[in-house]
Protein backbone atom coordinates (compact mmCIF):
# COMPACT_ATOMS: atom_id res chain seq x y z
CA UNK A 1 0.00 0.00 0.00
CA UNK A 2 1.25 3.48 -0.85
CA UNK A 3 -0.03 6.63 0.77
CA UNK A 4 0.81 10.32 0.94
CA UNK A 5 -0.03 12.72 3.77
CA UNK A 6 -1.60 15.89 2.39
CA UNK A 7 -2.83 19.08 4.00
CA UNK A 8 -6.40 20.20 3.39
CA UNK A 9 -6.49 23.76 2.11
CA UNK A 10 -10.19 24.42 2.76
CA UNK A 11 -10.14 23.32 6.38
CA UNK A 12 -6.67 24.13 7.75
CA UNK A 13 -6.19 27.46 9.50
CA UNK A 14 -4.21 29.34 12.10
CA UNK A 15 -5.47 27.16 14.97
CA UNK A 16 -4.82 23.71 13.53
CA UNK A 17 -3.51 21.92 10.47
CA UNK A 18 -5.96 19.46 9.00
CA UNK A 19 -4.37 16.55 7.18
CA UNK A 20 -5.65 13.52 5.36
CA UNK A 21 -4.13 10.79 3.26
CA UNK A 22 -4.24 9.89 -0.43
CA UNK A 23 -4.01 6.12 -0.70
CA UNK A 24 -2.48 4.38 -3.72
CA UNK A 25 -3.57 6.20 -6.89
CA UNK A 26 -6.89 7.57 -5.64
CA UNK A 27 -7.89 11.00 -6.93
CA UNK A 28 -9.11 12.24 -3.57
CA UNK A 29 -7.97 11.84 0.00
CA UNK A 30 -9.75 9.68 2.57
CA UNK A 31 -11.81 12.52 4.01
CA UNK A 32 -12.83 13.78 0.57
CA UNK A 33 -14.01 10.25 -0.21
CA UNK A 34 -15.96 10.15 3.08
CA UNK A 35 -17.69 13.42 2.11
CA UNK A 36 -18.43 12.17 -1.39
CA UNK A 37 -19.75 8.76 -0.22
CA UNK A 38 -22.01 10.05 2.54
CA UNK A 39 -23.39 13.34 1.20
CA UNK A 40 -26.19 11.70 -0.87
CA UNK A 41 -27.71 9.93 2.18
CA UNK A 42 -26.65 12.18 5.06
CA UNK A 43 -26.21 15.68 3.59
CA UNK A 44 -26.90 17.62 6.80
CA UNK A 45 -24.59 15.50 8.91
CA UNK A 46 -21.79 15.80 6.39
CA UNK A 47 -22.24 19.59 6.30
CA UNK A 48 -22.12 19.65 10.10
CA UNK A 49 -18.93 17.57 10.16
CA UNK A 50 -17.21 19.76 7.57
CA UNK A 51 -18.30 22.90 9.45
CA UNK A 52 -16.94 21.56 12.74
CA UNK A 53 -13.61 20.64 11.24
CA UNK A 54 -13.32 24.09 9.68
CA UNK A 55 -13.93 25.65 13.12
CA UNK A 56 -11.21 23.38 14.53
CA UNK A 57 -8.79 24.61 11.88
CA UNK A 58 -9.66 28.31 12.06
CA UNK A 59 -11.05 29.10 15.51
CA UNK A 60 -10.55 26.63 18.34
CA UNK A 61 -7.86 24.09 17.51
CA UNK A 62 -8.39 20.35 17.95
CA UNK A 63 -9.65 20.42 21.55
CA UNK A 64 -9.38 17.02 23.19
CA UNK A 65 -13.10 16.75 24.02
CA UNK A 66 -14.21 17.31 20.45
CA UNK A 67 -13.18 13.68 19.90
CA UNK A 68 -13.92 10.26 21.32
CA UNK A 69 -10.58 8.72 22.14
CA UNK A 70 -9.19 5.18 22.30
CA UNK A 71 -10.71 3.99 19.04
CA UNK A 72 -7.48 2.12 18.30
CA UNK A 73 -4.64 0.61 20.31
CA UNK A 74 -3.06 2.67 23.12
CA UNK A 75 -0.67 5.28 21.75
CA UNK A 76 -2.05 5.23 18.21
CA UNK A 77 -4.12 8.37 18.75
CA UNK A 78 -7.09 6.97 16.83
CA UNK A 79 -10.22 8.94 17.67
CA UNK A 80 -13.66 9.55 16.28
CA UNK A 81 -15.04 13.05 15.83
CA UNK A 82 -17.58 13.28 18.65
CA UNK A 83 -20.92 11.95 17.47
CA UNK A 84 -24.10 12.25 19.47
CA UNK A 85 -26.14 9.03 19.99
CA UNK A 86 -28.62 10.11 17.32
CA UNK A 87 -25.87 10.82 14.76
CA UNK A 88 -25.70 8.41 11.85
CA UNK A 89 -22.08 8.85 10.77
CA UNK A 90 -18.73 8.09 12.33
CA UNK A 91 -15.51 9.72 11.16
CA UNK A 92 -12.15 8.38 12.29
CA UNK A 93 -9.18 10.69 12.84
CA UNK A 94 -5.68 10.64 14.27
CA UNK A 95 -5.48 13.28 16.99
CA UNK A 96 -1.88 14.49 17.25
CA UNK A 97 -2.70 17.33 19.60
CA UNK A 98 -4.51 20.64 19.68
CA UNK A 99 -2.40 21.75 16.68
CA UNK A 100 -3.16 18.99 14.15
CA UNK A 101 -5.42 16.14 13.19
CA UNK A 102 -5.38 13.69 10.33
CA UNK A 103 -8.79 12.80 8.92
CA UNK A 104 -9.48 9.29 7.78
CA UNK A 105 -12.70 7.78 6.54
CA UNK A 106 -15.69 6.32 8.24
CA UNK A 107 -19.30 5.71 7.45
CA UNK A 108 -22.76 4.98 8.80
CA UNK A 109 -22.73 3.48 12.28
CA UNK A 110 -25.32 0.74 12.40
CA UNK A 111 -24.09 -1.75 14.93
CA UNK A 112 -22.78 -1.81 18.47
CA UNK A 113 -19.20 -2.89 17.90
CA UNK A 114 -16.57 -1.94 15.37
CA UNK A 115 -15.79 -5.58 14.61
CA UNK A 116 -19.34 -6.17 13.39
CA UNK A 117 -19.25 -3.48 10.73
CA UNK A 118 -16.91 -4.28 7.81
CA UNK A 119 -16.81 -0.73 6.43
CA UNK A 120 -16.06 0.95 9.77
CA UNK A 121 -13.61 -1.79 10.67
CA UNK A 122 -11.70 -1.32 7.39
CA UNK A 123 -11.54 2.45 7.83
CA UNK A 124 -10.47 2.17 11.46
CA UNK A 125 -7.79 -0.43 10.78
CA UNK A 126 -6.45 1.52 7.81
CA UNK A 127 -5.96 4.51 10.06
CA UNK A 128 -4.20 2.33 12.65
CA UNK A 129 -1.76 1.23 9.97
CA UNK A 130 -1.19 4.84 8.93
CA UNK A 131 -0.69 5.93 12.54
CA UNK A 132 1.91 3.21 13.15
CA UNK A 133 3.79 4.17 9.98
CA UNK A 134 3.86 7.84 10.99
CA UNK A 135 5.02 6.99 14.51
CA UNK A 136 7.86 4.87 13.16
CA UNK A 137 8.99 7.60 10.81
CA UNK A 138 8.95 10.18 13.61
CA UNK A 139 11.04 7.82 15.77
CA UNK A 140 13.50 7.45 12.90
CA UNK A 141 13.52 11.25 12.52
CA UNK A 142 12.39 11.12 8.91
CA UNK A 143 9.33 13.09 9.96
CA UNK A 144 9.05 15.84 12.54
CA UNK A 145 6.62 18.42 13.83
CA UNK A 146 7.55 22.04 13.32
CA UNK A 147 4.80 23.91 15.12
CA UNK A 148 1.62 22.63 13.53
CA UNK A 149 3.36 21.48 10.34
CA UNK A 150 4.44 17.92 9.71
CA UNK A 151 7.66 17.96 7.73
CA UNK A 152 9.86 15.38 6.12
CA UNK A 153 9.22 12.25 4.09
CA UNK A 154 5.44 12.28 3.70
CA UNK A 155 5.04 9.47 1.20
CA UNK A 156 4.91 5.87 2.34
CA UNK A 157 5.16 2.60 0.44
CA UNK A 158 5.07 -0.59 2.46
CA UNK A 159 6.14 -2.65 -0.52
CA UNK A 160 9.63 -1.10 -0.32
Amino acid sequence: MKFEIVKLEELSGERASIYSVIVNDETDHLFGQFVHENTPNYPNEVKDIVARIRVIGHKTGAMEYFFKHNEGKPGQGITALFDRPEAKLRLYCIHFGKWAILLGGGGPKNVATLQEDPKLKDENYLLRKISDAITLRIKEKDLQWKGSELEGDLTFDDSE
Partner: protein, 124 residues
Protein backbone atom coordinates in the same frame (compact mmCIF):
# COMPACT_ATOMS: atom_id res chain seq x y z
CA UNK B 1 12.45 19.48 5.33
CA UNK B 2 9.53 19.10 2.98
CA UNK B 3 6.03 20.12 4.07
CA UNK B 4 2.83 18.37 3.06
CA UNK B 5 1.34 19.10 -0.32
CA UNK B 6 -1.69 21.36 0.10
CA UNK B 7 -4.66 19.95 -1.78
CA UNK B 8 -8.23 20.93 -2.57
CA UNK B 9 -11.06 18.43 -2.66
CA UNK B 10 -13.99 19.00 -5.05
CA UNK B 11 -16.29 17.20 -2.59
CA UNK B 12 -15.34 19.52 0.28
CA UNK B 13 -15.45 22.62 -1.91
CA UNK B 14 -19.00 21.69 -2.97
CA UNK B 15 -20.09 21.34 0.66
CA UNK B 16 -18.54 24.67 1.65
CA UNK B 17 -20.26 26.42 -1.26
CA UNK B 18 -23.62 25.30 0.11
CA UNK B 19 -22.93 26.65 3.60
CA UNK B 20 -25.92 28.10 5.39
CA UNK B 21 -24.62 31.16 7.33
CA UNK B 22 -27.07 30.56 10.18
CA UNK B 23 -26.03 26.95 10.67
CA UNK B 24 -22.34 27.83 10.32
CA UNK B 25 -22.76 30.45 13.01
CA UNK B 26 -24.48 27.97 15.35
CA UNK B 27 -21.75 25.37 14.90
CA UNK B 28 -19.05 27.96 15.57
CA UNK B 29 -20.76 29.29 18.67
CA UNK B 30 -21.27 25.84 20.21
CA UNK B 31 -17.64 24.90 19.66
CA UNK B 32 -16.26 28.20 20.91
CA UNK B 33 -18.39 27.93 24.05
CA UNK B 34 -17.09 24.41 24.66
CA UNK B 35 -13.52 25.54 24.12
CA UNK B 36 -13.92 28.47 26.51
CA UNK B 37 -15.50 26.28 29.20
CA UNK B 38 -12.77 23.65 28.84
CA UNK B 39 -10.00 26.23 29.10
CA UNK B 40 -11.63 27.71 32.20
CA UNK B 41 -11.83 24.24 33.80
CA UNK B 42 -8.12 23.74 33.14
CA UNK B 43 -7.22 27.19 34.47
CA UNK B 44 -9.17 26.51 37.62
CA UNK B 45 -7.11 23.34 38.06
CA UNK B 46 -10.11 21.08 38.51
CA UNK B 47 -10.99 17.81 36.83
CA UNK B 48 -13.97 17.22 34.59
CA UNK B 49 -15.44 15.06 37.40
CA UNK B 50 -15.01 17.84 39.99
CA UNK B 51 -16.60 20.35 37.62
CA UNK B 52 -19.55 17.98 37.15
CA UNK B 53 -19.93 17.63 40.94
CA UNK B 54 -19.86 21.41 41.42
CA UNK B 55 -22.90 21.60 39.16
CA UNK B 56 -24.63 18.49 40.41
CA UNK B 57 -24.24 16.76 37.06
CA UNK B 58 -22.92 13.41 35.84
CA UNK B 59 -19.49 13.44 34.13
CA UNK B 60 -21.16 12.11 30.98
CA UNK B 61 -23.24 15.30 30.82
CA UNK B 62 -20.07 17.40 30.99
CA UNK B 63 -18.59 15.24 28.21
CA UNK B 64 -21.53 16.25 26.02
CA UNK B 65 -21.11 19.91 27.00
CA UNK B 66 -17.45 19.88 26.01
CA UNK B 67 -17.99 17.95 22.76
CA UNK B 68 -18.66 21.07 20.71
CA UNK B 69 -22.05 19.72 19.64
CA UNK B 70 -24.20 20.77 22.59
CA UNK B 71 -26.99 23.34 22.32
CA UNK B 72 -26.72 25.05 25.72
CA UNK B 73 -29.62 26.69 27.51
CA UNK B 74 -29.13 30.14 29.00
CA UNK B 75 -29.65 28.66 32.48
CA UNK B 76 -26.89 26.10 32.00
CA UNK B 77 -24.50 28.78 30.74
CA UNK B 78 -25.39 30.99 33.70
CA UNK B 79 -24.57 28.15 36.13
CA UNK B 80 -21.33 27.31 34.32
CA UNK B 81 -20.08 30.89 34.28
CA UNK B 82 -20.95 31.31 37.97
CA UNK B 83 -19.06 28.17 39.01
CA UNK B 84 -16.06 28.82 36.80
CA UNK B 85 -16.06 32.56 37.48
CA UNK B 86 -15.90 33.47 33.83
CA UNK B 87 -18.06 35.57 31.54
CA UNK B 88 -19.79 33.67 28.77
CA UNK B 89 -22.19 36.50 27.97
CA UNK B 90 -21.21 39.98 26.93
CA UNK B 91 -24.00 42.47 27.38
CA UNK B 92 -21.91 45.61 27.00
CA UNK B 93 -23.62 47.94 24.58
CA UNK B 94 -21.60 48.26 21.43
CA UNK B 95 -21.35 51.88 20.22
CA UNK B 96 -23.77 52.40 17.40
CA UNK B 97 -22.09 52.88 14.09
CA UNK B 98 -23.42 55.61 11.91
CA UNK B 99 -22.90 55.75 8.22
CA UNK B 100 -22.75 59.11 6.55
CA UNK B 101 -22.57 59.92 2.89
CA UNK B 102 -20.53 62.85 1.66
CA UNK B 103 -20.93 64.14 -1.87
CA UNK B 104 -19.09 66.98 -3.48
CA UNK B 105 -17.73 68.27 -6.74
CA UNK B 106 -14.19 69.44 -7.38
CA UNK B 107 -14.38 72.53 -9.55
CA UNK B 108 -11.34 74.08 -11.21
CA UNK B 109 -10.92 77.68 -10.08
CA UNK B 110 -11.31 80.43 -12.69
CA UNK B 111 -8.25 81.74 -14.53
CA UNK B 112 -7.09 78.26 -15.59
CA UNK B 113 -5.11 77.51 -12.47
CA UNK B 114 -4.27 74.09 -11.13
CA UNK B 115 -6.30 74.86 -8.06
CA UNK B 116 -9.63 73.34 -7.28
CA UNK B 117 -12.38 74.18 -4.88
CA UNK B 118 -15.11 72.09 -3.36
CA UNK B 119 -18.59 72.81 -4.60
CA UNK B 120 -22.01 71.41 -3.85
CA UNK B 121 -20.92 69.72 -0.65
CA UNK B 122 -23.66 67.63 1.00
CA UNK B 123 -23.58 65.39 4.05
CA UNK B 124 -26.39 62.95 4.80
Amino acid sequence: MKQARVVRSPAIAAILEQRDPAQTNRVELRMMLSAKIYEAIQQKGISKKQFAEMLGQQPSVVTKWLSGTHNFTADTLADIQRVLEIALFNFEEQPKQEKIAIAFELVRKPAATEEFEIANLSVS
